[in-house]
Symmetry: C2
Subunit: 371 residues, 2 copies
Amino acid sequence: MSADTPESDTKLNEAEAREQLIDLAADIYDQFERGDIPQMSLPTRTKSNIVFDDESGVWVYGDRTSTRSANSVRGARKLLKAAYTVEFLAQQLDEDRSSTLRELYYLSESWDSEDAGFNDQDESNQLVEDLEIVSGVTREDFHMRPEESGATLMGPLELREQTRRGERDIHCQEDVGEGGYQIPNNPDTIEFLDHDIDFVLAVETGGMRDRLIENGFDTDYNCLVVHLKGQPARATRRITKRLHDELDLPVVVFTDGDPWSYRIFGSVAYGSIKSAHLSEYLATPEAEYVGIRPQDIVDYDLPTDPLADSDVNALESELEDPRFQTDFWEEQIELQLDIGKKAEQQALAAQGLDFVTDTYLPDRLGEMGIL
Amino acid sequence: MSADTPESDTKLNEAEAREQLIDLAADIYDQFERGDIPQMSLPTRTKSNIVFDDESGVWVYGDRTSTRSANSVRGARKLLKAAYTVEFLAQQLDEDRSSTLRELYYLSESWDSEDAGFNDQDESNQLVEDLEIVSGVTREDFHMRPEESGATLMGPLELREQTRRGERDIHCQEDVGEGGYQIPNNPDTIEFLDHDIDFVLAVETGGMRDRLIENGFDTDYNCLVVHLKGQPARATRRITKRLHDELDLPVVVFTDGDPWSYRIFGSVAYGSIKSAHLSEYLATPEAEYVGIRPQDIVDYDLPTDPLADSDVNALESELEDPRFQTDFWEEQIELQLDIGKKAEQQALAAQGLDFVTDTYLPDRLGEMGIL
């Protein structure tokens, strides 16, 4: 291992991020100078304003926009907060430091203008998202860390991570414990060195992740197991996308069979409505679903729980979601509403602890052409 | 790295665990043979039945017991389920495999007696806890894995983990990425090889953990940073205790300043009421609190939130909890009820991003005699 850090892509992003931020502030300044009332224009972030982008294959914001203008005290205060935040972020990038959204919120108490302080955490979170959208730079490139880090990897992958303490070369089976390799907050500090992976298997629950590792599924099938830990963190989605794009690997997502888990699949494959501006950075539209299907509940006679009212509402909302308007999802969701049941991925254990690795996954992945 | 596994302590525990389980089944058999109605006796698991054990320095169950007897259909069914579970666990140990509590629940659907199947997950969870108590063997030694794994370590520690794929020697700064070393489900597979640690700092939130690592606190102060991730998993508490006991290291716990965080400290230091039978295995009674005190809210003028009704109730419940009946906690909790405020650990950022590592922790740890 060597401690010198080459001029990496990360560094280029930082310079670009800083420039884009300064441009935002300059734009407000220019509007003032021209005698205009300063304003910022943003895409409307609702389900009705996302459209499918054929070129990138992901869902992005449509044409509708909302405007933040200084023509009211409230709007002016929002732009003031944005200017202070831009200054903080530019300084953070200068010093090669980072911070969390929550730290930004508290730090605003120390700013010299009381009007620039945030009233609550939602306000500062939303502002950072707004800045991402208008600048076209991701939060990671602003060096804003998430509160909780990504999940873990286990499989035949050797990677190099740039850390503050130098480079680390890590093989995600040979150099890690049973817990696997912990994905860092910003996986763009990772370079893929070598691998023997045939496909990437992203798994919802820790119990199932551990079952696959115990049963040696990663070695038997040359598979990289990504633990999603429920709704996946941005870092987890980002590295999944990079594995697909850079190593040309198929990605399959293995979840429970309920509407919340379909959303987990959706956040890997389609991106989320709240962060459609990041779809090209985070979403893997080619990801396929190998999770429990309502059809599996019937075919394998799995132990189930009845759908709660909130499940039914979530399923109905998915039927109206443009991202789920495919034959597969419409058929499965309607079947689920019909049978009124849901099942967890660990319910496969009702047919024995090896059923998932000996039968279920090989059968499903075979049908899908992955194996 | 070598792939051969020596006859370790873990293996001894497995044999012992198996024997204890078989003894339980044999005991039921003997009762039958004597013509007695079989029964199992368990300590009552409530706040009023925990007592301080002077010898071990932890809170354990008192003398009150409840009895599971086959003198009712319901009681007989409970013993039947226990017998099936014992058989499953003994077989699992024979085959050197493991499973999760949720898998056990689903697996019971495949048992040949329908009466032995569990009605819900609470029932199987509770039975495994009962078996831990009556056998005196921990769930880890039964090879029951938790659903979610432990958190991470970062600091000057070199360890050896026994994995299914052989031994792994890992230095928790030099051989890991920014995310740190992922604690495995059963940290008794770890051997401490070498270290340069002066104290162990267990941290509640991911944001604060990342702040300490970014600021180099682990290298500047020879400190092992354990991320608790909220209410700590058993694996996290177990490794913290082992670091204290085996390496003779002071342990300090750094949390938010609210009643839920005091419980996090309590679960590290005192153990929990629900698992007081495990206190000697999991609790570190010498752990000290370096989290946000109500006194700090006043002294450092931290940004706060008002106490919600649920916070007030939790504080009042802590005042009645024997584990919190010390001068320190009574004074702090009463002060908090008086000022009606709580603060997060990241609120220290209101005085700058370095305040926590340059001022707060050095001051507090100095007062406590740790530095």
